[in-house]
């Protein structure tokens, strides 16, 4: 996790808040955590009713939510989540394409062959061999048969 101390009021030196985040899409503000798959709806909708929120971002002794109170915090959280979601979306697209190729081929394949298939048949994904092996290794949808050779789990 990367972290940043954040000050609400530049003139008041006592009010510092800890903003932590991970590029995979985890954000923690003063200990309250949310992720790219489960995050406060106000990040998507300005008209979201705070009464319906299940996250607690209130500062003890004060009223209001950090995200509402500090637009800079909200923007930073949104940037982290959007980055993670874009990368997740790309990985999902690569994963879908790999599943499709393996299913049509009907036999396990070496990741370098899969990377060539994706480059030719799904140029919009613009994948590298490194990205292909990354998705194959990390996704539960695939299993390794022998070094570098993958099949659908």
């Amino acid at each position: 996790m990367d972290s940043l101390w954040f000050r609400r009021d530049r003139w008041n030196r006592d009010e510092w808040y800890l903003f932590e985040w991970h590029p995979w899409g985890i954000v923690r503000i003063c200990g309250t955590e949310f992720t790219a798959s489960d995050y406060p709806e106000c990040l998507d909708r300005d008209d979201f009713d705070c009464e319906e929120c299940t996250f607690v971002f209130e500062e003890p002794g004060r009223s209001g939510c950090y995200l509402r109170a500090f637009p800079e915090l909200r923007d930073r959280a949104l940037a982290v989540l959007q980055g993670a979601l874009a990368s997740r979306w790309e990985r999902a697209m690569i994963s879908d394409a790999l599943t499709q190729e393996l299913r049509a081929h009907g036999r396990p394949l070496h990741y370098t062959v899969l990377a060539r298939m994706l480059s030719e048949r799904h140029p919009e994904l613009d994948v590298t061999e490194g990205e292909v092996i990354g998705v194959l290794r990390s996704s539960r949808e695939f299993r390794s048969i022998s070094p570098g050779v993958y099949w659908i789990a």
Binding site: A104, H105, R107, H110, T112, S146, W151
Partner: protein, 377 residues
Amino acid sequence: MYPDLNLRDWPFRTAPDREFGAIWAGRHETENQLGRILRRMSLAPRSSLYVMWANFGMGKTHALYHLAHLCDTDTPNLLPVYAVLPRQAKGFIDVYRAVAAALPMDRLAESLKELGSQWPRQLSLHPLFADFPDIANALVACLGSDDTRLSIARQWLTAQVGIPRSALNQIGVSRLIRNAEDAVSALTVLTRLLTVGDRRRKLLLMIDEFQRVGQLRARIMTETNVSLHTYFNANSTGLGLILSMSFGRQADVKFMLSEELRSRADPEMLTFDVFSPDQALEFVSDLLSQFRLSESDNPFFPFTKGACMVIIDHIGTRAVLTPRRLMHYFSLVLENWQVDGGPDGELRIQHASKYLEDPNLSMLDIDGDATVGVGDE
């Protein structure tokens, strides 16, 4: 023999069987294509490379056995050699090992004798062995009556590792066949030796399970492709090469072959795709007719046509129709019918339906071989 069934042998085989190479059922266009390709090969001296693609269970290995049978019977100037690409090849040397082990030693010995009778000097000095003179010495060792030398020579020719220097000295060879370059040189010399003396004589090298290159590390896959095209280039005449592969999509063939190999391949590709119900019916009647003890009015005997259609329909509604599935299900029904004391009349629709009733029948029946990961047909 099964006289009650009017069959000289059990016609349904689910694994490729060399002894059944003579049998060809259904797919008459493909049968003609195979015959025509062999005739083309036997006519023109130029070397040729063919790619064979088959969907799962479509009988590509049987087709290769059938080609070997046709060479023996119709085109004797073609010498068929069947080899299988090793499952986890570490390099082209492993492919060479598989091919060298399948080469006919008796034919090599004959060719060597023939060559020796026309060459007054030491055989290893013959221009044919210029690329790899040690081959001549190893083959001479194979001709002798010394079993130890014969055994060493065979091990050496098939690129076995760990042969001691003292053993190499016994057969007069200077080094082992240890890498892709050695393997290509050795294979080239052996191919030339097998075809020497007759411009129309050809080695028909059939490499089965070539799809396994798709599971090799990129370096090994490239080495295999490069070595094969180097070997092909080195034998501009006298070689017919068939690379046979099986997977679900024909368009994937290009990912298994380098551009150089693809550019050398004949435009005519051998393909084996799934059957239609009519083709399946024709396959069954053709198959049975080749095992008849005597002529029969019913081409499907001991089955009735209706029973055949029930079995085909049963398979067709659950999966694609392939020769292997047809063999499995027809064999299952016929075996059960026999166990129940059936050979008294014909196997009818109700019998077929009865033996196909079990809902778990096709549980293990899947397309491809992915459950075992890298297995093969």
